[in-house]
């Protein structure tokens, strides 16, 4: 049972770090777009 639990924990951590990595990338892309949009307005 403990081995199974470790496997589920590992899968959960991989999924979570995948989500966090995606959010960080999205955050950076939005920031760049905001900067470009701000420059265009000026």
């Amino acid at each position: 049972m403990k081995e199974g639990l470790n496997f589920v924990l590992g899968v959960n951590l991989i999924i979570w770090f995948g989500i966090a990595f995606y959010l960080f990338i999205l955050d950076r892309r939005i920031r760049k777009l905001e900067e470009t949009s701000e420059d265009m307005r000026r």
């Binding site: 049972m1 199974g4 639990l5 924990l9 959960n12 966090a20 959010l23 905001e34």
Partner: protein, 229 residues
């Protein structure tokens, strides 16, 4: 940036603690009770999102500010997302404890009705072409939709016989193991942080999209001409 990094680490700590620190609750088959650390915070975030969407909608009707409409839309979208996640994780628990993924239990039925109500919110938004009318209709609908939330989430599953566990899993009631309670509260905090992060991203994205809309471009040009004149 530092808060986002800390949140990422905090969530990883909570996931690890959910499996390694907290024990499995008695009365549940195998390790199934550990779903508490993921399923309940998802349901909490869904309810919080719908509440936030309703408050933002009230503010939109009072002030007619596009920012509040963006907040209402973003919150409703995230509410629907977390509601779907809570339904999916609940179904996995149902398979392990009740024998099948779907049992038409009062809790499951009420959540399906809630998903349909909030699904209709997006159908309404996409059906109205005029932005001003769309925002007003969506705001009124969001307020009306939230009226059903307390009944569907808290009242209906409690007034009828349900398979959904309440006593062992409800932290408001005594009997929850202190270790479980610690991880559960930590998970609530982590999910709330994640929700705030996602909400801010969505709002910023909507603001960027809004800048490309013709009405915004025209108003900006008029402003610039006014400044020149």
């Amino acid at each position: 940036m530092i808060i986002k990094v800390l949140l990422s680490i905090w969530m990883a700590v909570i996931i690890s603690a959910a499996f390694l620190y907290a024990g499995a609750a008695a009365g549940f088959p195998g390790q199934t009770s550990r779903i508490l650390f993921f399923h309940v915070p998802q349901a909490w975030i869904a309810t919080l999102s719908f509440l936030l969407s309703m408050i933002a909608s009230c503010m939109y009707l009072a002030r007619r500010s596009v920012k509040t409409d963006h907040l209402a839309l973003s919150a409703a979208e995230l509410g629907l997302l977390f509601c779907i996640l809570a339904t999916a994780t609940g179904s996995i628990f149902a398979r392990a404890t009740w024998g099948s993924f779907w049992n038409w239990d009062p809790r499951q039925t009420s959540i399906v009705i809630l998903l349909m109500i909030y699904g209709a919110y997006f159908a309404l938004r996409s059906a109205v072409p005029d932005p001003e009318k769309r925002r007003v209709f969506a705001a009124v609908y969001s307020i009306l939709a939230f009226v059903t939330v307390p009944f569907l989430v808290f009242v209906v599953p409690r007034i009828t016989a349900s398979l959904h566990p309440e006593d062992t899993m409800n932290p408001a009631k005594p009997g929850m193991d202190p270790k479980t309670l610690k991880v559960f509260l930590g998970s609530l905090l982590a999910y709330t942080g994640l929700f705030v992060w996602m909400l801010r991203l969505k709002i910023r994205l909507l603001r960027l999209e809004g800048r490309q809309e013709p009405e915004f471009v025209i108003s900006e040009k008029l402003k610039q001409e006014g400044e020149k004149g």
